[in-house]
Symmetry: C2
């Protein structure tokens, strides 16, 4: 049976998580944010610290190549490969199981050739000043600290996406639509994306 999977990549602070949560609520389907995906990955035996190392992508190989003996480098690389493999498998399993919204974790890339689901791959971004404002509000940070966090997260997410997909983060070619969330706001953007789903797949409930 075909069902609907919406992947939402987003810039840190652009409110992609809130938009995805509202879409899942409105359509009454499952919602997997980053933490939930990570928890499932941990359940099948890849510890969070390994996934965090995987997040840093390029850096791992770099470290190994520089300092470690050949043996431990290979072991480390295997573990990385395994973690990436597990992440891909789990995203695919979640998508196959039932209608859902999946935030981040390169799900757009992982699912790009999937044929048996109705798929919408969205990316949410916003001007830096809006993201900084959002981060200040969400985490009760000063403007200066919000900017530091923004830069750090951009760098980290970008590296991770590049390591996993070989393409730049936010690359439009892995997405069906990219939206500036400050144009219509959180609720407006969610509803406009729901409208896209209706236009593409009809309004039939699962």
């Amino acid at each position: 049976m075909r069902h609907l999977v919406i992947t939402i990549g987003c810039e840190y602070g652009a409110k992609g998580n809130a938009i995805g949560r509202k879409i899942a609520e409105d359509l009454n389907i499952k919602f997997y944010n980053r933490d939930l995906v990570d928890e499932i990955i941990e359940e099948v035996g890849i510890p969070k610290e390994i996934m965090e190392k995987v997040e840093e992508g390029g850096t791992i190989a770099g470290k190994g190549a520089e300092g470690d003996v050949r043996g431990s480098f290979s072991k480390y690389a295997d573990l990385t490969d395994r973690a990436i493999h597990v992440q891909k498998q789990i995203i695919r399993k979640l998508a196959e199981k039932e209608s859902c919204v999946i935030i981040g974790r390169s799900a757009d890339y992982i699912l790009k050739d999937t044929k048996d689901i109705d798929l919408l791959r969205a990316f949410i971004y916003a001007p830096d000043e809006v993201r900084i404002h959002n981060i200040m509000e969400s985490h009760n940070l000063s403007e200066k600290d919000a900017k530091i966090l923004l830069l750090e997260k951009d760098k980290r997410y970008h590296k991770r996406h590049l390591a996993l997909t070989g393409s730049n983060r936010g690359d439009r070619h892995n997405r069906d639509i990219l939206m500036n969330s400050s144009y219509l706001g959180i609720e407006g953007t969610a509803e406009y994306l729901e409208e896209l789903i209706r236009r593409k797949f009809g309004s039939e409930e699962e």
Copy 2:
């Protein structure tokens, strides 16, 4: 009086022109494609050949710096600056005058700080295989020739955009929305963008 201006940047072969034309027809507003903008620029005294050189952006300075004497390089640079200035002025005038759709010509960047108009800045893209198919059909070309044209146009548009705006072409941060035109098709994409305009600015006719 506020009115509506829609700028549509697009990848060659992604059907942004056809989408823009349909939006202008449906909303009954002016439609300026690239050629029309160029004609107006030519009318005010910047010959087409100069605008074409301006299109090549970086290349001009490169040539001057390599081979020409300092005097002629300066003259050339002045002319380039003037042509860019005129293009910016004309895009601004068109946008100030009345509701319209403007295709390409970095109008999204030129109008980014305009306050007196209702502005939607869209970018249309599509997978390479779809673009190649579109180019083959529009220009009656073989697949091989369509690919050559695609690569050449991508390179040229990218250079031009970089020269004029300092940012990469397709950079999401100068746009409110980026859409893969093959997701809903030409008519579907146009209608979905009209829906965005209604949601943002209401359905009031001018």
